[in-house]
Symmetry: C2
Subunit: 339 residues, 2 copies
Amino acid sequence: MARSVTILDVAARAGVSKSAASLALRGTGYVSDAKRRAVLEAAAELGYRPNAAARAMGSRRSGIVGLILDDLRNPWFVPAVEGLSAALHDAGLRPLLGDWRLEGSPLVDRFLELRVEGIVLVGTLDGAESALAGIAPLPAVQVGSPRAQAAGAAVVTNDDAEGARRVVRHLAALGHRDIAHLGAPGTPVGDARRTGFEDEARRLRVAFRSVDAGLTEEAGYRAGKEVLAAAHRPTALFAVNDMAALGALSAAEDLGLAVPRDLSLAGYDDTPVARLRAVGLTSVDNASREAGQVAARLLAELIGGGPLPGAPRATAETVLLPPELKARSSTAPPPAVVR
Amino acid sequence: MARSVTILDVAARAGVSKSAASLALRGTGYVSDAKRRAVLEAAAELGYRPNAAARAMGSRRSGIVGLILDDLRNPWFVPAVEGLSAALHDAGLRPLLGDWRLEGSPLVDRFLELRVEGIVLVGTLDGAESALAGIAPLPAVQVGSPRAQAAGAAVVTNDDAEGARRVVRHLAALGHRDIAHLGAPGTPVGDARRTGFEDEARRLRVAFRSVDAGLTEEAGYRAGKEVLAAAHRPTALFAVNDMAALGALSAAEDLGLAVPRDLSLAGYDDTPVARLRAVGLTSVDNASREAGQVAARLLAELIGGGPLPGAPRATAETVLLPPELKARSSTAPPPAVVR
DNA sequence: GGGAAACCTTGGAACGTTCCCATATATCTT
DNA sequence: AAGATATATGGGAACGTTCCAAGGTTTCCC
C-alpha cells in the first residue's frame, strides 16, 4: 500500500510550507501567484487528492448533507434530488444518498457519525419517527408530504390540494358533471388530494363521490371495478396517483369501457408510465425539481447560521409549490347520451 | 455549537483510559467485562457517536465503498443494490450511493477523497471511461453489462444471451415459426440479446429477422410499426427491453392488431411496468439481486487482500448469472390461419 | 514454584488536514 | 517619515480516533 500523497509532499515539491500549500489549494487567504501556481502544479504532478477525513478533522466541518430517500423503487424523487443536488453544490455542500426502506435507522446513525451538516428527508418515510428524533439538533428539511415529521424540520412540498383542484377544473371544462375520486385516505398525499377534489367539485357544482382505494395498482383496480360496475356510473375518474389510475384503467377494460370514449381517467404524479404512448394518462406534474432547489437553499441557510442566529433551530416552516396539469389522451368530453 | 461528546468524555465518565474505551466500543482486544459494561453505559448516557472522520484517520480505513449508479431514473438497479447492500454489510463495509448522470466525474473525485476502499459500478455508465481511469489502483467490480469497463475491474452480469434464448424457446413452444427481434445494436445488452436470439432461432429452425430499434419506447414504436406494416408480418415480436416492447405494443394497437390474439410480444428486464395488469408483458427477470450479492462478495475479497496478495489487482473476471423467463398475457399461440 | 502464555491496562505517537498566531515585507495615507 | 493597513509566510497546536509498545496481572502447565 503505497502511502498516499499528502499535502506535505505537495508542499515539499513546490518548495513552500504546508500552510501555504493548504491556502493555495483551497483558494483562500493570501498566497502569492507564483506560489499558488507552483503548488497547483506540484499537486497535479503528484496526483494529490485531499483526504476528506483529515479535512473534516481539521476544519470541524464535513461539508456533506445526508439525503434520506423514501424508496429507490419509486423514482418520483429523481427531479427533487436533481434540484437538491444542484442547489447544494452551489452552497459548497455535497449530498450523500441513502435509502430508508433499504437501510432503516442505521442510515441515520451513519449520517450522524459522518457528521453531516444537515439532513434532507425526501418523501413520506413510513415509520421513521423514532429515527428522526435522533437528528434533533441538526438542520433538517423535508421535501414531499411528510408523514413522519422530524421535530422542527422545515417542509417544502407540492400543493397537492391545488393539483387536485386543477384536475377537477379540467374535467369540468370538458363537460363532465359526475366525477368519482379513488382516494387514499390516511396518507398525507391522499388526504390533501381528496380535500382539493371535493372542494373544487363542490365549488363548481359538479356531482362527485370519493371512494377509498389506495396508492397501488391493485387498489385502483378493485375500487375502479366497484365504482364502474355500480348502477349510476360517473363519466370521469380521478385517481389519487398514476398507479391507482392504471389499475382503474384495467378495471374499465375488463368491463368493456373504452377510455376516453366511455370514461375519462386522470392520475397524479406524472410518472414516466403516464407518458407512455400506450397509456397516455392525464396527470399532474409536481414541481419536484423546484421543490428540491427550494429545500436545498433553505437548508443551506439553516446551516450557515440561519435567519435567527440565537435560536436553537429555525421554526418549522412550510413552503407550498403549485403543480402543473398534463392533459393527455385519457381525458375527453363525456359521451353525449349520458344524463 | 456545543462541542460533541468524544471518546475521552466517555472514558472519563466510565473511569477508564481512552484506549480501554476504544477497545470496549469496538469489541476487539482485551477488556474486562466490568469495564466494557461501564463504557457502554457511559456511552449510552452521553449519547456518544463515534466520529467517522477521526476513526478513518486513526485506522487508515474508511470502511466505505462507493456505488456508482448509472441513472436513478431507471430503477432496474434496485434489486442489485439491495443485494450489494446486504452483502457489503456482512463484510463490515458501508455503501455510499451516487448517480453518474447527475454528478458525473466529480462523483469519482469525491469517492476518492473519502478514501473509499472499493468501487462498484452499477450499469452501463456511458462516457465514463476517463473518470474510471482515475480509480486505477482501487478494487472495483462492475455489475451489469459494462460499456465503459474500468481497467481490470471484475464484471458480474446477467447472461443476456441465455435470457434471449429462453424467450425464443418459449415462443417456439407456443407454436410461433416466424419471430422478429427489435434490437439495440451497439449497446452491450443489445448485442448479447440479439446474438442469443439469432442463435436459438437458428437452432430451432424458426424463421427470424432482426431490425434495429433502440432502448426507448419511441424506438420500439417506430421499429414495431415498420415490421408490423410489412407484407409478411411475424406472429411474435421480441423486443430488446420492456420499454421498446411497450412502444411496439402501441404500434400494434395503431395497426388494429390485438395482443396476444394477433401478435405475441415479449420484452426484457421484467420492469414493474411489465407486471401491471393493464400491460401483462412477458419478460425476462434478471437475477439482479444475486448479481449484487456476488459482486459485493467479490469486492470484499479484493479489499481484504484478495486471492493474489502480491498482485496489484486481481485479474478481470466475468461472472454470468442465468435469468428467468416470466411468461404473462402478452404471449400466446399464434392465430391458426396464418401461414 | 517457575516460566510461559493468556489476559488486561495505559500513555504516547500517529493519521492529514485546518486553524491560529507570530512575524515579515510591501503598499498606502497623512 | 512614521505609522497603518494589506499582503504574505510558516511553525505549532488542535481535531478524535486507532495503533503500538510497554508494563501489569492472572492462569495454566510441567
